[in-house]
Amino acid sequence: MIKNLRVKTGKAIDETYRISFKFNGNAYYGFKGDTLSSALLANDVHLVGRSFKYHRPRGIMTAGSEEPNAIVQLHDKSSRTEPNVRATEIEIYEGLEASSQNCWPSVKFDIGGINNFLSPLLPAGFYYKTFMWPSSFWEKYEYFIRKSAGLGKSPTEPDPDVYEHRYIHCDVLVIGSGISGIMAAKTAAKNGFKTLLVDEKPNLGGSTIYQNSDYFKINNQNSCSWLEKEINEIKKLTNLEIKIRTSVAAYHGYNFLLARENLTDHLPVEQRKDKTRHKLLKIRAKKVISATGSIERPMIFDNNDRPGILLSSAIKKYADFFGVACGEKNVLFTNNDSAYETAITLIQKGIDIEAIVDNREEIDSKLLYEVEKNNIKIFKGYTVTDTFGYKRINKISIKKLSKDGQKVVGSKISLSCDCLGVSGGWTPAVHLFTQSGGKLKFREDDQVFIPNTYPSDQLSIGSCAGDFTLDEILINTPKSLKEFFNIKNTEYDNLEVISSTNKSKRNIWLLPSDKVLGKTKSFVDYQNDSTAKDIKLALREGFRSIEHVKRYTTTGMGTDQGKLGNMHALGIISETAGAKMGELGTTTFRPPYTPLTFGTIVGRNVGEYFDIFRKTPIHNWHEENKAEFENVGQWKRAWYYPKENENMHQAVQRESKAARESAGILDASTLGKIDIQGTDASEFLNRVYTNAWSKLAIGKCRYGLMLNEDGMVYDDGVTTRLGENHYIMTTTTGGAANVMGKLEDYLQTEWPELDVYLTSVTDHYATVSVCGPNSKKIISEVIPDLDFSDENFPHMSFKNAKIGKINCRVMRISFTGEQSYEINIQANYGKSVWEKCMEAGKDYNITPYGTETMHLLRAEKGFIIVGQDTDATMTPIDLQMDWIVSKKKYDFIGKRSLYRSDTIRKDRKQLIGLLTEDPNEVLEEGAQIVADVNKSPIEMLGHITSSYYSPNLKKSIALGVVRGGKNMMGQKLIIPMEKKNINVTVADPVFLDKENKRLNAKL
């Protein structure tokens, strides 16, 4: 029989709108406006989960985002499943299904619960202590630890929902819509500021919106009615944007904040279709007002974690706001006046209160007198020493506190109850404030950390600034706002306030028990099961820093980041170690305030939008012709063009042979192109390249090597002199942007006197490269008006030409060692020129080849690829490219570094060629190169950087870097592989046509 614990209508609840949902397979119903937790409590379900380490039964503890226990798995049979969702934040909807986490086979009977009885064997640092030795066993331990670690289950299918990012710029951002937030938002908007008000809850008004009692009045109205009118008014303001269900996750410097706006999680699943689920708001605010409120503190006593133990403020909210009684026999336990506010609510709603246990001895409080009038027993100066009931609290023991509060005295009194509300006072929610870089100060009176210095234009108001009572808020908030906005008055300057709260508090971080501490389970962090005992153990073992104690005991390291218990942990450390709270400081608060799903963070950058890519103007042709692509930087480059059933090796062998025997064609559009103009262009090139440029004739091309200032090879490419003061530089595909940046840097900062202008034109030109002994015949057909004779158009020169009416530049340069022509033409003609070349080359078996064949062909010639054969530790000398380093030039970037003591070492790794004993054995790129495999440890001499089977040489070839390799020509070395050692001989890295005859070969 399911009990119904609905009481008089709750403020948030629409009792005409029934919603059914399932929890752990059982069907329940609630009403529109319910959260999962309020609906469960209305159905008398307290037990909702098991704790992480001891698998103790746990119930709903709070009514907000600070919830440590009631975290559930949503929709565990769907791709929308989501772990670690706080039941206190989920608004129920038709069809909601949720289940408990961290329990098997069920929350009511959980095998892991045995850990509770083994708990003496599971002290703080258990994992660290136990699994350290022997270290070789770690892999075995890890397997079991991983299995038992973690709370919920992550989805295994792609997320079907859509997420978005949105930038918001506003004058004032107000975080939190409690009474002070509403006052701030209205004041800001009415003073002409473009204002954004956000609140994590589905409604505005914080806790005041259900404070319906004669003891809290503003201008002679109950505070909830007064606030409701204010809210209705601000909704009409045009320069105020209000976002509910919007939780600020992070507060960075310069008032940059991230917030998650939840748009569909409260809707039935079928209504979410085609809607954005979450928006990540990137907010840049000129001014920020934090009105984030405060979180009620639990109390630390033995067995303070049983289902049925809630924060007193949560019991009040469930009753007032949701119309739910958390129990039928309630006991409240407090050290301050807040619990009496709860008591008055329960009295109003006709919910039974058995007793109130108050740490304080003498209390002069209007609220207390009202409670006493209702014949409710108040135990003054008492504390709870123990609780009973495994799956639901059924009894507590209380005892009198000694004068100093360190001991319990007198005889034990037992009280039976089914719900215990605790109130240990309030902790300002300063998380966002400290994330922003704000510094806290400790207020001794009521033992709270409050904002002290602001790092940006911001303000904290209300209870997050330490104003806990209605009168404090209504007096201090207008005052702060006037100063913050530099205005003379607000409409809240002369409010009449009745606020009945007595501010006294008897703060005892760890309440005494009649048992020794070692026998108690007084939980400080509920989610991670760390107890007062654990913290004291950590201190005994020598941990002092709060950050170390936190990590050793895992206090505050759950998904709730210890919103409830962190202050108690600090208090216990402070008392035990005799350090002042203010000096201990807090642990670092890190974003996000509440967890975000990955989807929210990623937004629309999923699938093909995960990383942007660039396509050449000829891309579609490659696609139509079944090319395989590889990623080079952000470019998609044709890798190879398999025919029929060819694999990559077969395709590359065919393409390579065709390029050398007749003609090949390559899309080289991705190469970086920088247009260089100005009267000092030649001088500039002299300074950035290792070789000399002044004497390069107009119309000629030259290969250049660019170094970093440390002498290491940075980039290479061919640069062509187009005119007296005009060059076009090509860079590697991947290096284009960096080279451009580096050149700009030198021009702007080191050599501003040079008259040079750089323009990136990579995207403006398509480049079609035709190579092979028949290339000249093909290109002549495409550009019939140009004289392609070797006399008129020799290797390393350039001509302006026209294809039809379109201007183009033709360079005769070669990266394959074959005679080769590159047509550069306005990008949108790229594909048509490519097709013209294909047409003209039909009779010559013109063969499109991709990057893999290009790599093979250049390796046959021993041409390096920067980034493959070099790795930022290679100088041109290491590459055996001494010929390109000018001896005459006084200076160029990196020159001085070429004769540092380190760069002139004889035993640097140097580029060499390698030939295998067995010509069919192709080496693995990256494999180590050694001389002696018998010595231990084996001395590593270098590694292989490029390796291919050359169809033209009919043997395996490789390039590699080897220590002192330059002087090892002909020497035998070994490539040790897993299964065998491969014998190789050091060879000249130029394997083919050392005399460069092929550049001018005629067929």
Binding site: D710, E744, D745, T749, Y890, D891, R900
Partner: protein, 91 residues
Amino acid sequence: MFIINCPFCGEREQSEFKAGGEAHIIRPKQPTELSDDEWAEYLFMRKNIKGVQFERWNHAHGCRKWFNVVRDTSNDEIKAIYKMGEKPPVE
């Protein structure tokens, strides 16, 4: 994420900029006349101050101009911004 007031474009998000390390390290005019140690000093030695630091920044996703920023590295407060070639403000 802080905001940088580019001297050419105005206030922009930090994500548009690229940091370029310590400012006012001038490339020696006669590198060949320097000893290994002197060259290494120019090449490798950079300060990493907790506090006010003079830095180079580049508006990489904007006007591509380099300029100097005086920034407190402990809280990202920008004290001054000035163009290349201009004199640094005296503290």
